[in-house]
């Protein structure tokens, strides 16, 4: 199940596990990424808390936790090569995986159609 947030993140939900990344639109708006800072594995975030940082040539931006939970895995490939997020934001450019604290929070997120509507 693929969900989206107002902050242009995507969440792929499989049971109580979720993979988080930023959308194609976010990647385009940021421009060439030069640096990614990921959270530590084991760290817990509430929904909306800043979990990661991306820096493009233009500016630094925070990536907020789309739902509450514990980080169980991060993607070291994007730290080594941030341009992966630009080239494949929905695939190889994923940020981290988390274990959901409350799977009911997922219902508040947008589906793909809703997100497309947000982009207009």
């Amino acid at each position: 199940m693929l969900k989206f947030t107002q902050d242009h993140e995507w969440v792929r939900i499989e049971g109580d596990a979720a993979t988080v990344g930023i959308t194609q639109y976010a990647q385009e708006q940021l421009g060439d990424l030069v640096f990614v800072e990921l959270p530590e594995v084991g760290k817990c975030f509430e929904k909306g808390a800043p979990a990661a940082v991306v820096e493009s040539v233009k500016a630094a931006s925070e990536v907020y936790a789309p739902i509450g939970g514990e980080v169980v895995q991060v993607n070291p490939a994007i730290v080594a090569d941030p341009s992966l997020v630009n080239s494949d934001p929905m695939g190889a450019g994923w940020f981290y995986k988390m274990k959901l604290a409350d799977p009911a929070e997922v219902d508040a997120l947008m589906d793909e159609a809703g997100y497309k509507e947000l982009l207009g």
Partner: protein, 188 residues
Amino acid sequence: MPFSDNSHVLRCTCHFDWNRRCEACFIDRLDSIVVLVWRYFHLYFSATSRHQHEDVLDESTTPVEAALGWAIAKVRRRGGARGGRFPGADVVLEQLERGAPRCRVGLKPRSRAPVRAGVLLYIDASSSQSVGVVTSGTFGPSAAGPIAMGYVPRALSRPTTPLFADVRGNRLPVEVTELPFVPHRYKR
């Protein structure tokens, strides 16, 4: 404040007019290049930084600190035909001879994280007293890594001096480096 009363000099249009001499500026046309360079840098850098204290050039910065001493004509230096007699001359000439207390330096972050304007500089990973500030910084494609510029005390301005930049609460190692970051490749 080295330029204690420079409000007129900063706004006056006489520096753009080679046929006029403005008595209020106390500046000859040739010398006005100093002010032009200063103003240009001021406009350029203040457009890229967010707060006044992060400007590469603000009212508290002397040309000597900003490494723009080359723009001060020989005749205006001490012993020159028209030595002194410009706003801030006492301080600027003193600094030209003895060195400025702080200097504009290039900074090369050791990690990949860009170090941006406003970031404070420290001499080690734990001290609470900052020794300088970054005035601009970003990722430099030609340098293939992050680059930054800022002010540090003269004692810490020598290239290869290790410093620490506080980025989002993390002390990241940076190194004072020669400017320009990418050496010139043209012949003079």
